[in-house]
Every structure is written in C-alpha cells, then in structure tokens.
Amino acid sequence: MNWFYFSSPSTFYRLAGWLSPWFFALAAILTAVGLYYGFVVAPTDAQQGEVYRVIFIHVPAAWMSMFIYFVMAAYSAASLTFNTRLGAMMARALAPTGALFTFVALWTGAFWGRPTWGTYWAWDARMTSELVLLFLYFGFIALANAFEDPRRGDRAAALLALIGLVNLPIIYFSVHWWNTLHQGSTVKLTGTSMHVAMLTGMLLMAFAFWMYSIGAALTRVRSIILERERRARWARSL
C-alpha cells in the first residue's frame, strides 16, 4: 500500500468529499445524544443550579480550540519540513474552525460568568490566554491570506503557527501566574469529581465537536484544493 497516495490534492479531494458527510453525520448523532444527556439526564448542579449546563458547550469548545491549534501546528510543521502542499492546505482549513470554537468558548464563558461570578468578563488566566489564542488564530488567517502567492502565505503562516505553539504555554503560564479566578480543572486523567451523567454529556459533546471539526475542515480543504488546482486537468474535468 502506498502511504502517500492521499497526499496528492487530486486524490485527497475525492477522499475528503467521501469522508466529510460521514463525519457530519457522526457529529449530528453525537450532538443529539450529548445534548440529551446534558439537558435531560444530567442532574441539576447543587451550587450553580441550571446555569452550569453551559458546560456542555463551553468546555468542549475550549478543549477543541486548543486541540485544533495543536493539529494546525502539526500540519504546519509537516508542510514546512516535507514541503507538502496538502499539509499547508489542511492547516488553512482548520484555522477558521479553531477560531470559531475559541470564540464560542469565550462567548459561552461570558454568559456563564455573569450569573455565577457576577461579571461577563474577568481578567482571569484562562480567559486571557483564550483571548490571546483567538488573536493567534486571526493572525494565522490574516498572514496566510496576505500574499499574492498562496504558497508564500502557506509557509509564512506555518512558521507563525509554530512560533505561536512555542509561545502558547508561556502565555498560559504567565497569565496564570498573573491572575487566577477561574475554577481549577475538574476533569483530570487521574479521576474526576463530577457526576457520571455530566461527564458523559460533556465527553459526548467534545466528540461531537471533534467530528464536526474534521468534517468542516475536510469540506473547507476541498474548496481550497479546487481554488489552487483550478488550472489542473483533473479539476477542470470535474
């Protein structure tokens, strides 16, 4: 089997077109089950009441916002080291979804913060680093589109993603040290202090967002491939 068969845009275009509906379907099913768990099965929180149910959107979105940045940086590293075109296209395709989830995490966090902390926004460590992450995504998207030559944009943005990846933990720890109001992590690898139904709902939603991200990135990468390869024979014969 040739491992690099799907690293060519023309073959990957077909693969992505075939895969993305499946991922969207999985995302829809998982969202339905996850929301059912979140709104029906999960009990009301003893301290926060019903408000806490934002968690089923907020936490998975925050997880995905960081995870997508890592994946994007990995694709960027691959595209820089192996000079692959598809890696850079995938990084570009992931960035808007990552920015979207970062925004959703900030937005839902604000509406969660208002009733529980009494404020929409606090200069808390995680919120501040999430905001910086949003700017990193915007910077990536802006830099990738700032050049006449798309390959130039690919490579510059890839390098920026890697610089941002090194900086991200530093930014996180610096703001963490600077100010912390946000509650600590409830879900840890060594066990959790959460009700099982709450955790199930949250994990289901996280998987739903994950599947949605893959589906959205694959759909977006198809348009990017078509745009780049519009002069190629296979694209014109479509």
């Binding site: 820089l80 830099l143 700032a146 130039r152 490579r155 930014i171 703001v175």
Partner: protein
Amino acid sequence: MTTMALGSLPGGFAWAFSRDFRLAWRNPGETVLVVAFFVLVASLFPLGVGADMRLLERIGPGVIWVCALLAAFLSLPAMFSSDYMDGSLEQMALSSHPMVGWVSGKIAAHWIMTGLPLTVLSPLLALQYGLEADTLLVLAAALAIGTPVLSLLGAACSALTLGARGGGMLLALLALPLFVPILIFGAGAAQAQASGLSPSPHLSLLAAGLIVAAMGLPAAVCLAIRIALD
C-alpha cells in the same frame, strides 16, 4: 563592500550591526520618532485618567511598559523592509556569512536604536508617575532585559510580513499577542517592588525568556527571510 570570501558568524554579526548602526546614526530621525512617541503616549495617560498621584503611581509601571511595547512595535516594519525592497536583503542572504550571524547583528542594532533609548528614558517617565527610586530602578532593569525579547520576537514577525498586503496592521496582529508574557513579567517586576515584594522572580523569568528567545528566534527569523526571498 569588502570581499567576504570567508564568512563567519561573528564577522557577519559585526558587519550587519555596524552597518545598521551607522545607517541609524547618520539618519537619526527614526530613533528620535520612536523615543518621542514613547514619551508622548506616556504623558497622555495622566491627562486621560486624571492627575491623582496615588493612581498614577499604581498604574505607572504598566503604562510605561505598554508605551515601550508600542514604541518598539512601531519601529518593526523598518527592520527588514527597506533592505527587502532595494534587494540588499537578497545580497546579504547570498553573502558567505552564515545567515544567523548577520540577522542577529541586525536585531542587536534594532535593540540599540529602540530598546536601549527607551530603557534609558524610562526613569524620567517613572518620575512623572511618582514612582519610588527603587521601583524606578527595577522598572529600568526589567526594560533592559525585556526589550531585547521584543526586538527578537518583533524581528520574526517583521520578516514574516515582508511583502505582505496590509503590512502595519497585520504586523500588530502577529506581534502584540506574542508580547503578552514580556509585558506581564516586565510590569510585574516593578509592581512587585512597589508593593514590597521581591522583583527577582519576575526578572529571572524575563532573563530566562531572553535566553530562550536569543537561542531560538534568530533561526526562525532566518527561515522567515528565506521564505520571503523564495
């Protein structure tokens, strides 16, 4: 230009440093503008927030740091772009000196022309904000350690945006989020001193940041320049 048959790292550093320094020395307008901007913006804050000396003393370190950050940022577009436009950047890349050497020389020259004047001037501004003498010294020390990191990070962003559309705003979007840790530790050092704590953890972290940045970022700048010249 002398023949550079045998390139070397220190040779390239010294050559680029002295070239950029001489250019700035003979045409000091840019450096003066950076310094003037720094002083002007720092003087605007009391007009905006009121002349309450206690409040000014509290926000002073942060305000001075933000002003230094913006002033350092303003001078970034000039770092590589004129050399890129007239083709000398390409000539330098073709020279026998290793790229890391002369790139580091240019970054060092940039710091001498922006970061150093800001550091030297900062005690004067700190006096305007009524900071105590020891806080003032810590602020200057933090700026002395932190502004080179700004030059290093800024150089990477400046090289990435060479030939890009919408240069200035794009550069702000790239560079300013990356400056966040420096701002936090830099302003934190002076604030710790002002509130009676030891500033040394902040200063140590700044110095650690400087070491990491000085080791990693010149290579990233070189890669960015190679991408731009491709």
